[in-house]
Symmetry: C2
Subunit: 441 residues, 2 copies
């Protein structure tokens, strides 16, 4: 809601969101489209979209308002979008999430089954970076993503690469973006292009800015980097000056609302990028030139189960899931990779259930709920007991990544091969050693 | 294993760990007990425990070795331990974990059913801080702790306070220390003393030092602070110069092996302490003087279930546990507190199962697997759907803390009261607002 005074000024001129209006104050004149009131914005501020595509906020005090013309739906300055042969071709796969709804919102209700010229009207910077091909795949909230979407996105990525895209951007809700990024990292074989997931955090503080900056930076990584990996492009810090490219299999959303919520866990970000598009590489990565094979999608996925153990946790859950036909478990153990194993209190030990599962050909992988650091099958007796029971200790892999990896392995390989590959680094999900300084950064 | 040369020197003198030996080199003379070889220590270094209780490491090159006397079991310089009436009385409740085995190890196999004089012989600093009463409660690994131990520790704390202890130290394995700390925080009513949990991280780099420094600092907090809360006393950083007192209900082990693994999540540490014992208060806390009532233990606990949801996660687990009689669930949702709710793919939505649980009087609490930040029942439509289904959004509470809290509430209050209290701050587990700067520190 606008303040009463401001609303009256609008009403006097019959001004509605989307209308082209003129604002004058102290010799200044601005002309542009009135943006809809955002919930978070000040009730005294008018947000105007200027012809160059930028938004500007103006306090209504001491201004004069005039309506120039009414809102024109679906009218854009470019009637035909002509690709620039000197720019790389980038595909943006649209899957939903806050970034979609935010850009939707700015575009005042225009559906995101957009033509490139529509997006470019609102984010004109993109036209200078790449020729944009938009693939509106679906509009699904992050929490409702399943492996079925992972498979479709993978196939769409391969299709777009085969159609000449130099890199791919995927817009996605943030909550499960790291699960999807991990799935793509395993499903996309011989990947020879940057695959960049980006989204937008709810940020009540600064309106839409992170959606635009995130998308622009993601397109830049896709167009200009030589990274042949799947990564997440989100804010480096809480100001709007730098974005990161974090390896998907090492990324985790670590805050419910901060725009820099995504962190590299047990890893360094692969690269950073400034507002001006300067890419700085921060650690080693697979390069496009190193990949000679053709990229293909190996999309098989078999749902398995991720279990967090804790004091009093119920080990019978293993039996329950085995009866449902589950062939894999990833345990989020405590510390270096523990479950309860003592027989002191009857019913609390996970050992007999794990032994039974392994004896029946079920794969049990161990990760740590600490998140940072590395599980270790040797330090304590209780760890060696689990190792001897057949538990596979997943090194410094994130629980979420291990979950996605084991589900993918079991669908595509036999059990013995899956066990072997679970412990082996495939796409950067396991690092040889733990770098102490990578804690909480 | 010592190096061959060093072992031969020991053998020539028939020297075994625990023996009193004399080392001479370049005019220097040291006399003390030979400590057992630590796995991590150099194979060329002799660790000697001097008469003043301190350990010293000496490289064997160019030294002369002589045996003074054989190991004397259970012989200590103080035959009778006389309390100092000017010092506060502190009880140390021994529960097991690495700290116990480390100190055990240093004391060369002396069982930790120790008398105070034994501990004080090895950590003489303690005698200057407080009169120490040792309560050897049990010797249980962190991963095997259950609510039964939480109850026993709570009762022991109350007993020790009634017996005149000014504060309590609890030595504990680190992996589940934050679960135990949360349980004590809820179980100990009208708490009017500092209750300080401490332990020792596996640290292959520096032998036993963190166990001693941790224990000394914990005793100092218990003896000298005016904090009337349950907290965890562990390293502030990876050097050995500062320890923190972190509110138990806001603490989490965030690294598998770093000595500063414990972090305050969505909170500031309550206090820090230097090697010299200088306490600095860092945020507000309950003070001893503010509590007028007598502390009592309310130890009821009913095991509930903590579930982490993720893409493809199976909502039928709710039904399974309800059939087992479970009356409470804490969900680790994605982002701001989501479960899948879409009906697009059959079988993935958690909504019907949650609705059914709530309709049957089961309490469903929502937290976030992001860990940092706060769940929010209003931002998105899918969040409001869960709220309307009866899910209780647990603000900025940690999933582990919410699990302990709901289990404690359901054992001690009726369902309606439990629901009301779950969302209300009781002992610092919920803060009114999220401080952005408390991310990853």
């Amino acid at each position: 809601m606008y303040s009463k005074d401001l609303q009256e000024m609008f009403d006097a001129e019959h001004i509605k969101p989307g209308d082209i209006i003129k604002i004058e104050w102290q010799g200044n004149v601005l002309e542009g489209a009135l943006m809809p009131k955002s919930e978070a914005g000040s009730e005294d501020t008018i947000i105007l979209k200027l012809k160059n595509g930028y938004n500007i906020g103006v306090n209504y005090h001491n201004i004069k308002l005039k309506k120039i013309s009414s809102k024109k739906l679906n009218k854009f300055p470019f009637s035909n979008y002509i690709p620039n042969p000197e720019l790389p071709n980038i595909s943006i796969i649209w899957t939903g999430g806050t970034i979609g709804s935010k850009i939707d919102y700015i575009i005042s209700g225009v559906s995101m089954t957009v033509k490139p010229e529509e997006l470019l009207y609102y984010i004109p910077e993109l036209a200078k970076i790449a020729n944009i091909n938009i693939i509106p795949l679906f509009s699904i909230s992050s929490e409702d993503m399943t492996f079925i979407e992972w498979q479709k996105i993978s196939e769409e990525v391969i299709k777009a690469l085969n159609n000449g895209s130099r890199g791919i951007v995927i817009t996605h809700g943030t909550d499960t973006m790291h699960y999807t990024a991990s799935a793509l990292a395993f499903m996309l074989q011989n990947l020879n292009a940057p695959i960049v997931l980006t989204g937008s955090q709810r940020s009540s503080d600064r309106g839409s800015s992170d959606a635009f900056f995130n998308l622009i930076s993601a397109v830049r990584f896709a167009a200009n980097s030589d990274i042949a990996e799947v990564g997440i492009c989100m804010h480096s810090n809480s100001s709007d000056d730098e974005m990161l490219f974090i390896r998907g299999v090492k990324a985790r959303k670590m805050h419910t609302s901060r725009r820099d919520a995504f962190r590299a866990i047990n890893d360094k970000p692969i690269a950073s990028i400034t507002k001006d598009g300067n890419i700085k590489y921060l650690s080693s990565y697979k390069k496009i030139l190193d990949i000679k094979e053709v990229a293909v999608a190996k999309t098989g996925f078999e749902p398995i189960v991720l279990i967090k153990v804790h004091p009093n946790s119920d080990p019978e859950i293993i039996d329950y899931y085995m009866q449902k036909g589950i062939r894999g478990f990833i345990i989020e153990g405590t510390g270096l990779g523990h479950t309860p194993v003592s027989v002191e209190h009857e019913g609390f030990s996970w050992l007999p259930y794990i032994k039974n599962a392994v004896a029946n050909g079920v794969v049990v992988g161990m990760t740590s709920q600490c998140l940072y650091g590395r599980v270790n099958e040797n330090v304590y007796k209780n760890l060696r007991i689990l190792k001897n029971a057949g538990v596979i200790f997943c090194e410094d892999m994130l629980p979420e990544t291990a979950y996605v990896k084991l589900g993918w392995l079991l669908a595509n390989y036999n059990v013995e091969k899956a066990k072997e590959m679970l412990k082996k680094n495939l796409v950067g999900e396991i690092k040889n050693r733990t770098i102490y300084d990578e804690f909480l950064i």
